[in-house]
Amino acid sequence: MRPPWHSTTFRVLTLGAIALLTAVIANRVAAPSRRLAWRSALVLSPSPANPPGVPEHPEQPIPQRSPSGPEPSPQGTKSAAPAPPAKPTPTPAPAQPAPTPAPITEISSQEAWQAFQAGLPFLDARRSGEYTEGHLPGAWNTPVWEADLDDQLLDFKAQRRPGAGDAIVIYCSGGDCRDSQLLAEKLLAQGYFHLLIYREGYPDWVARRHPVEKGGR
């Protein structure tokens, strides 16, 4: 009888087992930006919930803060003016029902600039390497595909203390980038319901010569 290690099935299974073992070890020793959680922390919808170019929700107004200008420091100040509550107000039924504000809304470049000037918190959903190369001033780095996403979000919440209805702007690299949407869906699942996606994202911000900041977290 042949020893088991001569059998092809044994060898196929062994190759798979070694790959699994090396993956476990390599992921453990990898740098945080290159690490991947074995179980995704994202709410991964099977199909694009919001196909490109099709705004599916009525726009929600961007809350305007008193004209205090851009906020360079992420710490301190509480979030901007609270958003209108998501629950429909019990007013008598109007002739045309007011559209319920959608929890996740796309905003234009202009609106993103207004939101920035109003001092709303910005979350950068891109990879941490891209963030280091340049990001919106004061934006938090919350890379959706990296293993420390939850830690970064906790950090953001601890410092900024956003209320569930406070507006949060999320951006990634524009184009067909869906990382902002993924982050918005995660925050929605955590109870936040005024999420604004700056769809054109960082390339648009740079093209419009708005201020940027370089460096890591």
Binding site: L15, I18, A23, A26, A30, L44, W145, E146
Partner: protein, 149 residues
Amino acid sequence: MSRWLLHPRLTLLVRLILGVTFVLAALPKIGDPPSLAKAIWAYQLVPALALNPMALVLPWLELLCGLALLAGVWVRAAALWVGALLLAFSLALAVNLAQHRPIDCGCFGTAGPRTEAERLADMRRDLLRDLGLLLLVAQVLAATAPRKP
């Protein structure tokens, strides 16, 4: 099968091509599993729970099988894995091509920004390449088939 198709020198050449291809494909992905997870997710064929484990293990499997093919160790087992992987990659590409969904192959790490038409063209090229590599796998499997007593 004609004799030259199973010639040991041809098998050696095929092993080297497959081995180098898989090692080169594995290295960038080993260096950046989050990018691979994102690439696999774009295919929209893998359930969410399997996504990250797949992105973590797949590149190491490619590297191991590539090295085995290069070294001539456990060639048949490595070729079976490589064949299964290529078959899965080809199917995934074909399904997305059929749905006209332009995605990044993710085969050799991340690619730069491209238009949708460029992506679809690249997907067709990648599919053809994978089918060609499958033919090479078939040669290795035929050459290493256990002899009948």
